[in-house]
Each structure stands twice: as C-alpha cells, then as structure tokens.
C-alpha cells in the first residue's frame, strides 16, 4: 500500500542531533536527509539513519547535482543515488538551482547561475536526465544568492518558472531564500512569490539567517537590516518572524506540503529545535485553515 505523503513541519537531519533523535524519537511527521552524507558510506551514521527510518518517513534533499553547472552530470553518483533513494523509500528528490562544479573542480557550495533564456532548456534537459536516471520526480530549490553572475535576461522568479515548465518538474520553495534575496536586492518578496509556480510546490524549506557587513563579509555586530549590511543564508539562527508569516501565507496557497526546518550552524539542543518546529507548526496550521476555508468557499460558489 502506498504510504501517505508526509505533511506538517519536520526537521532536516543533522549529525549534531542524530543521537538525541534516536534516543527520544520525538513526535515529528518526517525527517529530511541529504543522500550525499550516506551514499558510499558505512559506519555509525548510516546505522543510525536505518534506525530512524523505521520511525520516520524520510524526504531526500541533495546538495551536489550542480543542475546549473557546466560539467557533465556525475553518472556514477546518480546511479548510487537511485539505489539509496530506493532503499529509504523516497518518493522524490530535490536539489538546488545553482552550480557547484566547474572545470572538473567541485566548489562544495551553491553558486549563482545567470538567468538567461538560453540556459532554461539546457538546465531543464539536465533535470529531466536526472529524473530519468533516479526514476522519480525532481524538485528544484530556489537558492539564496548575493550576486547575479553577469547580465540577467529575466528575473529569478521568471527563470524558475520557465525552468520548471520546460523540465515539467516540481518546486522546492525555500521561503527564507526568497526573503533573503528580496531583502538583499530590494524587491517585494510577495510579488516574487506571485510569479513562481506555486502549483508545482511539493515541499518547502525555512531557516534562519544572519546579517553580515558588506565589504568585510564578517558577521555584523548589528543583527538587523541597514545600510552596508546584507543577509547571508547561514541557517545559523531561528527563523525570523517575517519568514514565519510568509510560510503561513504560502501554506494557505499551496495546501499541506511538508515543510522542513533547516539548521546548519549554532545548532543547539534538540529540544530547542523541536520548540521551533512547534512554533512553525502553529503557523502551518493557521495557513492550512485558511487554505481549507478558501477551498470550501471555491467549492460552494461552483454550480
């Protein structure tokens, strides 16, 4: 029997919390994992993951496909990825709309790609190739970026929409990234969100960020917006209130898709993360109530 698709707010699995999760098995609707951390690896963490997989549905989110990259896709890794996804029973896989390798070098970060018309079909072909190889749907994630590499021929939202359309793929909407980019480049995040294909959203991410000083790119002593500061998507602090509000608004529009809280720096106790999950869960529930009400209203006006 097909398992029901997870909904609600879950956690991105990190090794800093894996022991506590195994010990307490707290109530969470799912965990999100990065296959790169487990593929081709044995030992303690895969063993713990196997234990967690008995309790939680696992969603898969990758870091290294370099969908916007210029180097060929790593066929060997894609084959390993498929086996891994089969093993953990992941229904779909997501990765970032960025590049992370060039000229045979792997940069191990999410680098920005140019929003060019000519890139839409090329990247869509790469996404379709990945889908064919891993045998399940792909979702692409909007990344936070700090610089557009060159002259853009369209905006980021339009580019994402065109790539999704051309690849006929899903969208992993990172609400914090949308907020970070809107803040750093000075555009309206809600206008941006109205342009991306929300009907393709299969999952969402939220995370916290930090303010850095422009020029030195050191953590700013003043952790708020202002001249000479930019936001860096560190995943190193709590989700900020405007992003929680945006999450609620997005759930009202998309309905019950799974939302992942990502935390990669300054990771505290599991209990703190679970408390944040509960806060986000309340926003999720409010958004879902609005979604249900709106759906009912539409149904009632239909003849």
């Amino acid at each position: 029997m097909k398992k029901p698709r997870p909904t609600g707010v879950g956690l991105g699995l990190r090794w800093e919390i894996i022991d506590a999760l195994c010990e307490g098995l707290p109530a969470l609707p799912f965990l999100e994992i990065s296959p790169e951390n487990y593929v081709g690896r044995g030992g303690r963490f895969p063993a713990l993951l196997a234990r967690l997989g008995e309790t939680y549905p696992l969603l898969s989110h990758g870091l290294s496909l370099s969908l916007g990259g210029s180097d060929p896709l790593d066929r060997a890794f894609l084959r390993q990825l498929r086996s891994f996804l089969d093993e953990v029973g992941a229904e779909h896989h997501s990765d970032h709309l960025c590049f992370s390798s060039a000229g045979g070098s792997v940069l191990h970060d999410l680098l920005p790609i140019p929003f060019l018309t000519s890139e839409v079909a090329r990247i869509a072909d790469r996404i379709k190739h990945v889908e064919d190889t891993i045998g399940r749907p792909m979702a692409i994630e909007n990344v936070s970026y700090y610089l557009h590499p060159g002259e853009a021929e369209m905006g980021e939202a339009e580019f994402i929409a065109e790539v999704c359309e051309a690849a006929d793929c899903k969208l992993m909407l990172d609400v914090n990234n949308a907020y970070v980019n809107a803040s750093n480049f000075g555009h309206d995040v809600r206008a941006w969100l109205s342009k991306v294909p929300l009907d393709r959203v299969i999952q969402m991410h939220v995370a916290g960020h930090d303010y850095f000083d422009e020029g030195t790119y050191e953590l700013s002593a003043t952790q708020r917006a202002g001249k000479g500061r930019l936001i860096v998507d560190t995943h190193g602090s709590d989700v900020c209130p405007p992003v929680v509000t945006l999450l609620e608004e997005m759930i009202a529009k998309t309905g019950p898709v799974p939302v992942v809280l990502e935390r990669d720096q300054a990771i505290g106790e599991l209990s703190e993360l679970l408390a944040e999950v509960r806060t986000l869960g309340a926003a999720y529930d409010r958004g879902l109530a609005k979604h249900v009400a709106a759906t009912r209203a539409v149904a009632e006006v239909r003849p």
Partner: protein
C-alpha cells in the same frame, strides 16, 4: 553549453580558489582572463563586489571539513610552522581544489598536497605528517562501507583462515602519534609504532598498538591466509621460531582480539 556561461563559471571558480582575492584585487582582469562576455563584464563590474563573499563561503566549507577531520594534525602543524596550513590550503585550491564530489573526502585530497610540502619544510617535525596519516585513516575506517561475514568461533583451526571485523587498516610509524591529542605537545621520543585501526561493533573507531610479530601476523590474516601458515610466516619475518612461548603469545593475542570483537571466528 554556451561559451558565455562557461566563462562565467570559470571566473567564479577562480574568484573562489585563487590564493589572493583576485576579484577584489582586479575584477576586470579576472573577467578578461576567462573571456567573460562584454555585457556580463559590465554587469559584474557595476554590481556590489560580492564574489569575495562567495570566496569566503567556499573556502570556509573546505577549511571547515579539513579542520574537523584533521583536528590534531592541524593543531600540531600550526604550532610548529605558523601559516603552513593556510599556505597548503591555498596551494591545494590554486591547483584546482576539490575533485571529489564528497565533501568528506576533501581532507584526503588536501593531505596529498600537504604532506610533500611538510617534507620540504624544515620547521615541521616529521611526526606531523604521520599524525595527518593517522587521522585520515581513522576517518576512512569509520566511514568505510563494510559487510560482516558469517563466522564461527567453534570452527577456528590452524589450517583455516579467520574472519576479522572490518573495516580496518594497519599502520607503521616512526613515532607513537596515536598518543597525541589536540594540545600541540610532540611525542616523547621517536619509536617504531605499529598500529591496528579498526571499527568496533558499535561503529566506534579504535586504535591498538601491535608488536612487530602481531603486525606481521595480522598482515597475513587480513590477506586470508590460514592461521597456522600465517603464524609460521610471521615468525619467519621477525626472525623467530614457532615455539611454545610464541604460540602462547598467539593464543593471548587471539583472546584479546576476540574480546575486542575484532576476531569473529573462522568463515562459516
């Protein structure tokens, strides 16, 4: 793939990997080196100079994983030759940086660049390279994929091989580097040190010191040779005869490896 995009990717790569912050020093020259198209060149020169931020993020990720996995080696190297670590990281990145898609394997690539440099650096004591090798081995053993073969203690016999829990590796050093911690205190004295690095049933990586005979014996058992044959060859390699005393030593060694959960028995 358009030449336009390839040029942009190459420019970003150089901005991130060059030892000096080339994007900050002379962005126009960097873009020209890669043949970045005029409209992209204009746009990048007119934008905020945030390639330097990407440089910091990329290098931070590389350094972060290397300093985590090579924590002791890094500390001892910095104490003996300040700047040698960052110079080696610069050289590694300048030569193209990571080739591996797995971040966890980056330290291994770095050490391949680092160790030959340390050999040439008179400031660096020779044990430091050994410490890096030990740390890499510990990580490799901890992360290796492994299948436990079925085995039985009842079937152990001189004419049969034995099954040892994997993964494991043997190491031989000129210093007891396994005794070192993060505090950069050098080992008391040089001393030939044979180590067996293994992963126990709880997936913890452990290091045990071996006598020359035990190490020779292990080498043969790991190759799948029968126990009795391995004992004879190991004794020969150490210039010893197979005596009652030696067999008593072997029995103790087997018991110890059994208690540690390394010796699983004979293949079933």
């Amino acid at each position: 793939m358009s030449a336009r995009v390839e040029a942009l990717h190459a420019a970003v790569r150089e901005a991130c990997f060059s030892p000096k912050d080339e994007a900050k020093r002379d962005l126009g020259a960097l873009l020209d080196r890669h043949g970045v198209a005029p409209p992209d060149r204009r746009a990048l020169l007119g934008a905020k100079p945030r390639l330097s931020l990407y440089r910091k993020l990329v290098r931070g990720n590389v350094l972060g994983v290397c300093e985590a996995i090579l924590e002791r080696g890094h500390a001892h190297l910095e104490a003996s030759a300040k700047g040698a670590w960052s110079d080696a990281v610069d050289a590694y990145l300048d030569a193209g940086g990571p080739r591996t898609p797995h971040l966890r394997d980056v330290p291994s690539e770095l050490v391949a660049v680092l160790v030959p440099r340390l050999m040439q650096d008179a400031r660096v004591p020779s044990y430091v390279a050994e410490l890096f090798r030990l740390e890499l081995t510990e990580f490799r053993v901890g992360a290796a994929v492994n299948e436990v073969l079925p085995a039985s203690f009842d079937d152990i016999a001189a004419e049969r091989p034995v099954v040892l829990r994997g993964p494991s590796e043997r190491l031989m050093f000129a210093h007891p580097v396994h005794t070192l911690g993060v505090a950069p205190t050098p080992p008391a004295a040089a001393a030939e040190t044979r180590l067996f690095v293994y992963r126990d049933a709880e997936h913890e990586v452990r290091v045990v010191v071996q006598t020359p005979f035990a190490d020779e014996l292990l080498a043969r058992l790991l190759r799948g040779l029968p126990l009795g044959h391995s004992i004879g060859e190991a004794a020969g390699a150490c210039g010893a005869a197979v005596s009652e005393a030696l067999l008593t030593e072997v029995a103790k060694w087997l018991a110890d490896f059994g208690e540690r959960g390394i010796l699983l028995g004979a293949p079933r």
